[in-house]
């Protein structure tokens, strides 16, 4: 009996062993992978969902939950088949591999996924993956290239084109060792790839852009080639990516190890060239925008084998002149789309009940950054819900493009024959330098009145309250605009403030000045200096006449007045004998006093000569008198000062 139980148990274990793999694989095998766990804003991340199913039904409808903060392209879906031996069974699995390209638009930590597929009517989900998005320009760590030291191996590695799997193997060493014409086996570089001169005798980077002038939103392709003159090299870890804060970037070359290696000879030296970076850049603003240098490490025996950083070289920074698309001819509602696009739309169904919905599917295809929104034909009773987007990115050469499908759900709340109008897309074509508006006529939809049963709830809905837009009405007439400038803005206002009081003050000042001038004039009229000058003038005039006595009296009078001006003394009242001493005592110099006394004495003597007066003597005397008057009048006016002092004393 016990033996029977043991046999039964053995059969049971065998059955379980046979059934176990099937049970284990009856669930779909889903795996979500990302190309990098850390990217920076503007960089593109590749997310791959591998779904394998043991059943005959292949997984379909791959889906990926992507948080806000990413632009999504894809998925591109490929089919896979896998045969494996598990336990005692050979198993065949079919599946798909769906790939999305996510471009980060905001920094932060995000959870990508879960990814899901549909298998046999069921939805199977893979785990979510957390990634970190760094601010733009902070240069996220690039994923380690696979295939060198463990892990998956790339199908063809240009850094080891002959498959020796030795990172430090040197191409030229092998050539010298007669491995057999390896250098010549590399394809020859195109002439435009070869720089005019080697920028460095060992290694250098050559950065190029396809255009130096672009408009905002136009694709600028940055291509960077690494040129090595010392044999094979590989990229060292820690490259610093080019900064491009004013551009939105999309990498065109994700892994340089998939790029072909070219050879060329320049000045007798053999070089190899590899495209290490290629990025589509979309300017975000106008101005002189700079693309920073790529800092790249050449790793190889003849470069810098002993350091992990390799031989560091940098590309040159590049400045792009970016302008806004022209204002002339710009259509209303232009949203900044640049490229060349086509538009088609599908509406279904064309017959619904009021309150029902229709689907409007619009597909935009073309080259350039795909538009993010379309211009919708709004109207009352037609409610356009937010569209779901599906992208199918493509690359033609280095031109980014593809198609984007906008799936709109449109709710129709008004019954009748409704013309949906025209949906449109405006864009600027940088090739033709013209704007273009693509309209698509969506046609008409018949909307039946809402069924009676369905209308009841809406009738019971509370009435809509007054809206703000009911407060204002559109103004159809443009009146004359108010004056562009304020009356107090001009300098005239400040002059107006200053001129009245200042004008009155000036007027008062002018009056006072006039009075003072008059007073001065009157005082001047009384001055001995003026009288002395007048007496001299009369003497000069008399010199021409017959009566020379007038010359003497004029000269004498002028001298007396000048003495009174300079000393305050009335010299006429003094005796001739004491004149010189009194003049000296009044402050005149001894010589001057003596000369004054002498001239006055001579005047007296000559006057006694009467008719026998000699004209030459009179002239000489007048000359001396003039000289003395001039010297005396240069003295400070003692007469006025003493007179003033006298007035003060009297006061």
């Amino acid at each position: 009996m016990k033996r029977v139980y043991l046999v039964a148990l053995g059969w049971l274990v065998l059955a379980l062993l046979l059934a176990w793999p099937r049970a284990a694989l009856s669930q779909a095998d889903l795996q979500l992978q990302v190309s990098s766990y850390e990217v920076s804003v503007g960089e593109t991340l590749e997310v791959q969902l591998d779904a394998m199913s043991e059943s005959d039904e292949a997984p379909t409808h791959p889906d990926l939950v992507v948080p806000n903060g990413f632009e999504v392209r894809g998925p591109s879906v490929g089919t896979r088949q896998q045969v494996s031996i598990s336990g005692f069974r050979m198993q065949r699995q079919v599946g798909i591999s769906a790939t999305w390209q996510l471009t980060a638009t905001r920094a932060g930590v995000y959870s990508i996924g879960p990814g899901s597929v549909e298998i046999g009517g069921r939805r199977e989900r893979a785990q979510a993956v957390q990634i970190r998005v760094l601010p733009e320009g902070q240069g996220a760590q690039r994923p380690q290239r696979r295939g060198r030291r463990g892990g998956l191996r790339a199908p063809f590695d240009p850094f080891d084109p002959f498959g020796n799997d030795d990172p430090f193997n040197d191409l030229f060493d092998r050539l010298r060792g007669g491995v057999g014409g390896g250098f010549e086996r590399l394809p020859e570089a195109a002439p435009e790839l070869i720089p005019e001169r080697a920028l460095d005798p060992v290694a250098f980077l050559d950065a190029r852009v396809d255009t130096l002038h672009a408009v905002v939103g136009q694709q600028v392709t940055l291509t960077i080639y690494a040129h090595g003159g010392q044999g094979l090299f590989q990229e060292a870890a820690g490259s610093h990516e080019p900064s491009h804060p004013d551009f939105l970037a999309q990498r065109l070359v994700e892994d340089p190890s998939h790029q072909p290696v070219y050879q060329y000879t320049r000045d007798g030296q053999r070089w190899i060239a590899v495209k290490v970076r290629e990025t589509a850049l979309f300017p975000l603003r106008a101005g002189q925008l700079e693309i920073g240098p790529l800092e790249f490490g050449f790793l190889g025996r003849r470069y810098a084998a002993r350091t992990a950083e390799g031989l560091r070289r940098s590309s040159r920074p590049i400045t792009i002149e970016v302008t806004e698309p022209p204002a002339e001819g710009r259509p209303p509602g232009y949203a900044g789309d640049v490229g060349e696009f086509r538009l088609d739309a599908k509406v279904e169904p064309r017959h619904v009940s009021a309150g029902g919905s229709i689907a409007v599917t619009v597909r935009v295809q073309g080259n350039g950054r795909l538009p993010g929104a379309l211009k919708l034909p709004e109207q009352a009773g037609v409610e356009w819900l937010e569209p779901t987007l599906r992208d199918d990115a493509s690359l033609v050469g280095t031109t980014v493009g593809g198609s984007r499908t906008f799936n709109y759900v449109v709710r129709l709340t008004r019954s009748g024959q409704i013309d949906l109008g025209k949906l449109s897309l405006s864009f600027f074509n940088p090739r033709t330098r013209r704007y273009r508006v693509l309209p698509v006529d969506l046609g008409q939809v018949t909307v039946d009145p809402e069924p009676a049963g369905a209308a009841a709830p809406s009738a019971a809905a509370p009435p809509r309250g007054p809206q703000l837009s009911d407060l204002v009405r559109f103004r159809k007439q443009l009146g004359a605009p108010p004056s562009a400038s304020r009356w107090m803005d001009g300098s005239g206002f400040w002059w107006s403030l200053a001129v009245p009081p200042v004008g009155v003050l000036c007027l008062a000042g002018l009056g006072a000045a006039r009075r003072r001038l008059r007073q001065r004039w009157a005082q001047r009229e009384q001055s001995q200096a003026v009288h002395a000058q007048r007496a001299l003038s009369e003497a000069r005039r008399a010199l021409a006449g017959p009566d020379l006595g007038l010359v003497l009296s004029g000269a004498e009078r002028a001298l007396y007045l000048a003495i009174e001006w300079a000393t305050g003394l009335r010299a006429r009242a003094l005796l001739r004998s004491e004149l010189e001493a009194r003049l000296g005592g009044a402050g005149l110099g001894a010589a001057l006093a003596s000369e004054c006394a002498d001239v006055l004495r001579q005047c007296g003597e000559l006057r006694l000569a009467g008719a026998g007066l000699d004209r030459s003597a009179a002239t000489a005397l007048l000359g001396r008198a003039e000289s003395l008057v001039k010297r005396l009048l240069k003295q400070p006016p003692r007469a006025a000062a003493e007179s003033a002092r006298g007035h003060e004393a009297r006061a």
Partner: protein
């Protein structure tokens, strides 16, 4: 007395000339011709609920430099209509507030724009209250509050009156001999001087604020205040903010731009200065002379 009669007559003549000059100064300039645009299609678009079509056209005119209070008002109507339609976009109410604020800047006598702007701000406050967002009350800067007390026109008029009064007082004081007249002149001169200083000072302050700052309106739900490096300010911003939400500026708020640096704008918010992201505010067009901060591009 006879000798003083001539200056007195001259003073009265001067006063008359100055009064005439002031009258000419204050008199409105000839209004420029309105831009020739057809608003009928936009009216029709709004009537059938196609608000975006009207907005696109009005925005294009705005980009082309067409400045007119009616165009700003109509833009506000279009944004307001879309904000209350099924096609609403997040910044529509802020854009409507900006458009009506611009209409008021261009035509301060537009009471309809003032009324609807007040209602929009009330609506935004109510919406924030429903969303349990804290209220933010920002006291205006003292100088701005003073200049805005009676308006720049009135301050300038006060300064002009003060100037004339000062001139008349000085004239009486200096040209007339009568004791009573000289006393009256002194009083008038002192009063006029005070009015001139006050009115002139406030007018100059108003002009300084107008020329150094350009008004703008926040068009996003909340604009976070930043420091000069663009980092968010994480603490309440002083006594003007009533609570911890003082580091955010609500939608529809009026701020004054002092400086633009890259994507950042230095703004006067309440009685303090801070930085905002330029894309979160809309700079208002003004009818000022070209090149003044209000009409310069940006924001």
């Amino acid at each position: 007395m006879n000798g003083r009669g001539k200056p007195a007559r001259a003073a009265w003549l001067l006063a008359a000339v100055l009064c005439a000059w002031c009258a000419r100064l204050v008199a409105a300039e000839a209004a420029p011709a309105p831009p020739s645009v057809d608003l009928a299609p936009l009216d029709a678009a709004i009537a059938r609920g196609s608000f975006s079509e009207a907005i696109d056209q009005l925005e294009q005119w705005s980009d082309q430099g067409l400045v007119h209070p009616t165009l700003s008002f109509d833009r506000g109507v279009a944004y307001l209509g879309r904000a209350e339609s099924s096609a609403r976009k997040p910044s529509d109410l802020g854009q409507a507030a900006a458009a009506f604020e611009e209409a008021l800047v261009l035509d301060p006598s537009d009471d309809e724009a003032r009324a609807v702007l007040g209602r929009i701000r009330e609506t935004i406050s109510e919406r924030r209250a429903k969303e349990h967002a804290s209220s933010v009350v920002a006291r205006p800067r003292l100088l701005r509050a003073l200049t805005g007390l009676v308006g720049e026109d009135l301050w300038a008029g006060t300064a002009l009156l003060g100037s004339l009064l000062l001139a008349a007082g000085l004239g009486l004081r200096l040209f007339l001999r009568s004791h009573e007249m000289r006393l009256s002149g002194s009083i008038a001169a002192v009063t006029g001087g005070c009015l001139l200083a006050l009115g002139g000072g406030m007018t100059a302050a108003g002009q300084h604020l107008r020329r150094s700052f350009s008004p703008a309106v926040v068009i996003v739900e909340e604009a976070r205040l930043l420091d000069a490096q663009g980092r968010p300010v994480s603490v309440a911003r002083g006594p003007s903010a009533q609570d911890a939400a003082g580091d955010r500026v609500p939608e529809g708020s009026l701020v004054y731009i002092a400086e633009a640096r890259g994507a950042l704008l230095k703004v006067e918010w309440g009685d303090d200065m801070a930085w905002l992201n330029a894309s979160q505010v809309r700079r208002l067009a003004s009818a000022g002379p070209p090149g003044s901060p209000s009409t310069a591009a940006g924001g």
